[in-house]
Symmetry: C2
Subunit: 290 residues, 2 copies
Amino acid sequence: MLAGIDLGGTQVRVGLARSDGQLVASVKTRTALLGTPQGLVEWAAAEIDRHRGRQKVRSITIAAPGPIDIKRGVLVNPPNLPWENVPLAALLSRATGAKVQLANDADMAGLGEFHHGAGRGTRNMVYITWSTGVGGGLIMDGKLHRGGHGTAGEVGHMIVDPDGPLDNCGQRGCLEAMASGTAIARDTGRPAAELFAEAARGDRQARIVVERAARYMGIALISLTNVLDPEIFVIGGGISRSWKLVYPTMLETLRSSPFIKPARRPQLRRARLGDRAGQVGAVEWARINQ
Amino acid sequence: MLAGIDLGGTQVRVGLARSDGQLVASVKTRTALLGTPQGLVEWAAAEIDRHRGRQKVRSITIAAPGPIDIKRGVLVNPPNLPWENVPLAALLSRATGAKVQLANDADMAGLGEFHHGAGRGTRNMVYITWSTGVGGGLIMDGKLHRGGHGTAGEVGHMIVDPDGPLDNCGQRGCLEAMASGTAIARDTGRPAAELFAEAARGDRQARIVVERAARYMGIALISLTNVLDPEIFVIGGGISRSWKLVYPTMLETLRSSPFIKPARRPQLRRARLGDRAGQVGAVEWARINQ
């Protein structure tokens, strides 16, 4: 059997699947309840043990927020978690006897959408998670591309306006600094969710803020299209829930490039798996690497 | 045997190699002397025939400037050549009996540098040709990435400044509009080569122009690093000959990103194969696809 774990700042999910990837059980809990890495490992190992029946679980993938060291399976210093340099893969491997891999959560969400969500049937897909921050995962020629150091897909840190404001990452004018929920809150002094709710009710000022963010996202889509030539963009994360507000401006911006002829213009789709994407992708990665 | 042909606006090169890729002959001529696609095909077929001895040439790749239709092997409308919708692969296949593929010239130059030039020994490489225009080729996990429609690697058309001037491609502020030889000539009213010569002699105004272009190239390198996580950038094309003038500013810009930690910062190297890169890559592609 296989297991996929999605470790988020708020929730942790564990999925158990047969070796062909078919899900047989899925459980979740609040991250805060587990307290420590040891607490997480004990809970996950117990849940896996409880649902595996008489089967052996051979391969487990943990999707976790970066920065992580995928080679050594170490959580370096996850945002939203007060943990540092935790050798999570080794700890869970000891507790379960399985081969355990640590992977980037946006990569896993992208992989989930590619195999079981909005990207099914394509070969080249860029997944973007658009939320408080902006992250992503790249599928090229049917495979996850992780890069030379396991950090590919950081689309939120492409520079879209070199004169833009400083991002938390230290760069000026990266996509995250121009279009993330954090950027919207910084520019307006109010939570992004509030702005999106007002824009949905038709508030003109809120709409302008939302459209500006969507335009910067569209500029990033143009650059990504020219560099990677994907067949499809799949957009997930909290802001993708306001699809009707952001989709028209993103599409219009992408279409405004005369260089990207209609024949090679990628589709633009909303993610389908919601909060389950990371867990689904982690199971898939455990299957591929079993 | 194999053959690789590099069709440029000025020169055409043909290389013949054994099936293991070892070059046995290389010839070139001026494109203008061939006149028509038929002239090119006849010349290339005759040269291949003359050098193949008693061996059969099974696989040929033609590297050509975009836009091309790689699936159908058609030159759509090459810049610098008054040809349109030429089914070049089919014509040469008929003349030689070989399997013939048409490929993008920047992709082939990148492949050449990866296997036999500055990128040897790496797995993830971004090749950039920096000249009148800006193009590129992506090698990921050891393989050429051509994208969903064969147009990946158009790094010159990433948008690096959305308020920048219009490029010939119709986009505003793409890398080509900010940093190409054409952009430098547009901004200064003088040929880029002249500016580079003056900058080399220490002219202060010329240096400012050159450094500004190199800074925009550096901004593109930051975005490409965050998206693709390459181990190395290999820079070719005419402007790379002024390496001492452009390298320090490119490196300084790349280093200015606190998000790109030294452990994952790509190397930055000058291309090694010069004008031969396209032909070398075309032979390699003919070998891979024989």
